[in-house]
Symmetry: C2
Subunit: 343 residues, 2 copies
Amino acid sequence: MSDTVTIYDIAKVVGTSPGTISKALNGRHDVGDTLRERIIETAASMGYRPNVHARGLKMKKSWLVGMVYGEDESDSLEHPLFLPIMNAFKRQMEHFGYELLFLSQHSKFIGDSLLSHAFSRQVDGLLLMNVAEHATRSFVTASNAIPMVACDAIVPSLSSVITDNIMASKEAVGYLYGLGHRNIGHIAGPANPVTVGGDERLEGFVQGMHELGLLDANQYVVRAEGWTPNHGRDAFVKLMQTHPDITAVYCAADFYVMGMLQVCRDKGIRIPADISVIGFDDVQWTAFVEPGFTTFRQNKEQLGTVAANRLLAAMDGEQSIDIVRIPAELVVRGSCRNVKWHT
Amino acid sequence: MSDTVTIYDIAKVVGTSPGTISKALNGRHDVGDTLRERIIETAASMGYRPNVHARGLKMKKSWLVGMVYGEDESDSLEHPLFLPIMNAFKRQMEHFGYELLFLSQHSKFIGDSLLSHAFSRQVDGLLLMNVAEHATRSFVTASNAIPMVACDAIVPSLSSVITDNIMASKEAVGYLYGLGHRNIGHIAGPANPVTVGGDERLEGFVQGMHELGLLDANQYVVRAEGWTPNHGRDAFVKLMQTHPDITAVYCAADFYVMGMLQVCRDKGIRIPADISVIGFDDVQWTAFVEPGFTTFRQNKEQLGTVAANRLLAAMDGEQSIDIVRIPAELVVRGSCRNVKWHT
DNA sequence: CTCTATAGCGAAACCGTTTTCGTTACCGTA
DNA sequence: TACGGTAACGAAAACGGTTTCGCTATAGAG
C-alpha cells in the first residue's frame, strides 16, 4: 500500500495522460465529464495525495505561513495570550488552505537565519508575535518580499493588530474614578525591555487621569522591572512607600496582582476594603481567588482572526499598512470598592 | 533585489555548470578547492537560499516534522504543559535541522485529513500530543509509513514518552503517610473522556495505599467529571460528604485544588490546619497563594527533549517501540501538615 | 614513453506537478 | 460540401535542485 502514488500511476490505470489527470483533479474545464469522474474516483481509491513539493516548485506557492515568536523571555512561552491567539489565527488560516510553520527566534540568530528558513520554505506569509525589538529591522526590510503582519505588537511600517491598551487604561481609571477613587496608582510594565503593551497602558493611564483633572498622575506611577509576580510585588512596595495615600491600584498585568497579594497578606491590607485593584489579562486564577479580581480580558480570538484576515489580504496583494486595535473587555469582579459614600 | 536566486544564476556568474554548484555547496568531494571557495563566496554574496521544494522533490525528504495535538477540549490549548514541552521538542529538532509544522486536529476530521496533509507535505516524522482516543487508530496504521512518537500520552504500538504518574502518586501517598495521614482522599481525573494521566495517577494512588496497608483506598476516590476547577470543586464536595474523616487530599490536577480552595473558604476549612492538600502540575499560582501548595512538577523540558530524541532515532531507522517514563518532582510547599504528634 | 588511475568538471536524467500549446474530432452553419 | 469554431485530450516544457555517468586532463607507475 501507499508507496506514494503519483499522477503517472493514475494515468496508467485510467489510460490517459498525466496532464489530464492534473487538470481533472484541479477542476479545469477542458476535460470530459465522464473521464473526470473516473479519474477522481480512481485517484481516491488509489489513495492519491498530491506532492506538495512538486506543486510548490511549479507554482511558487507553498501554502505555508510562518509563525515567528521570540522565545528569549521565558514569559512569552507561557504567556497566557500566546496559545489562544495562535490558535485562532491557525483556525482561520487553515480555513483558507494554509498550514502553519513554527519559527521561533533565539536571540543569537538575529532574525536573519529565521528569514533564511522562511525564504527557503517559500512561505507565503509571516505572523510576527512578540518579536524582539532589535530583530524588527531585518523583518521590515524583508517585508516587501514576503507579506507580514504583527500581532500583539506594533512594528513600524508593518500592519499590526493589537489590543487597544490606551482605551482600556482610560476605562480603568474612569471606572475607579466613578467609584470615588482619586488617588490611583499604576504599576506599569518595565522600561527595559520596553513593550508596546506596557507603554500604551501607561500612556492611557496618564491620559485618562489628566482628562479627569488628576494632573499629577505621573507621580503615582512606578514601573516594574519585569513582568513576573516578584517584579509586581517590588513595585507595589515602592508605590506604598512613596504614596501611602492611594486607594486603588491599576496593574498592567495580573501577574503584578499576584505579587501584590503577598504583600497585602503580610501587611494585613484588605482587598477591596483597604485598597482596590484592577489587573490585566484575565488569567485563570483571577476568578478563583477571594475576592475575584476585576481585570481586562483581551479578545484573543479576535486578535488571532483579524491578524489572519489581514495577512490573507496582504498575500492577496493588499498594499496598505494599518494598525487595528481590538478593544479589551473589563471583567468586573470583587476587587474594587465603591468609596463614594465613605469619605 | 533578491528575486529568488538559483544555482543556475550562480553558475552563470561563476562560469561553471549548475551541477557543480550543487556539489560545491553540499560539500561533495569532486570539486576543486579554489573553485569551491569561489562558489561558496558568490553564493553567499548573491544571497542564495536553496529551494526546499526542489530539494524535497528530488530527495524525498522535507526536513519537516509535524506536531499534532487535539484541540477539542479547550483545556489542551491552555494546558500548562503543552507549550513548554513543545518548545523543548522544537529546540532539539531544530538542532538537527528540522522545522516544525503545526497540525491540529479538529474532531470532525478524524485524523484522516490530517494524515493527508502530513503525507502531502512529506513530513519526516510526527509528534503526537494529546490525541483523541478515537483518532489513534488511523495514526497507528500510518505509523509504518511515517515515524511517530506520542508524548504526554500512551498510544499502543507507538513509542511514547510520558510522566511517571504511577510513581508520582505513590510518592504522594508515601509523603502524606509519612506525615501521619491515614485517611487520604483522591480526586481523580474523569472517566469520560478517560486520559492516561488521570488513570495512571489513580492507579498509582490505589497501589501506593495498598502497599502501605490502607486497603480501602478505592473508597476514598472520587472521579471528577472534567479537568476544570469547577469539576474539582464538585468532586471535593462529594468527597467531604461521603468521607468527612479525611485529613488529606491528593488531587490529580492543580485546577482541582483551585476548586477546593473555594469550598474551603466558604466552609471555613483551613489549609493545612484542617486538611492537607497535594496537587499536580505546579501551575504558576501554586507558589503565590497562602499557603503555597505542595504539588508535582512534571519535567517538561525532558519530556520534549526525550520525545525529540526518540523521534530522531525512529526516523533514523530504529524500529523498536518503547515507553519511557519521566519522573515528576514533588515540590514541597506549605499545604501539608504533619499530624503525627497531634493524634 | 606508454598505460592506467584519478581528480575535476559538464551533460543530462530525474523528482511530481502545472500549464501552454497543438492536434484531432465533431458540431453547426452557409 | 466546405469551413470556422469549439470541446477534449496529449505532448512537452518548465520549476530548482541532486546525482549518475562520462569525459578530459594530469599525475604516477611500470
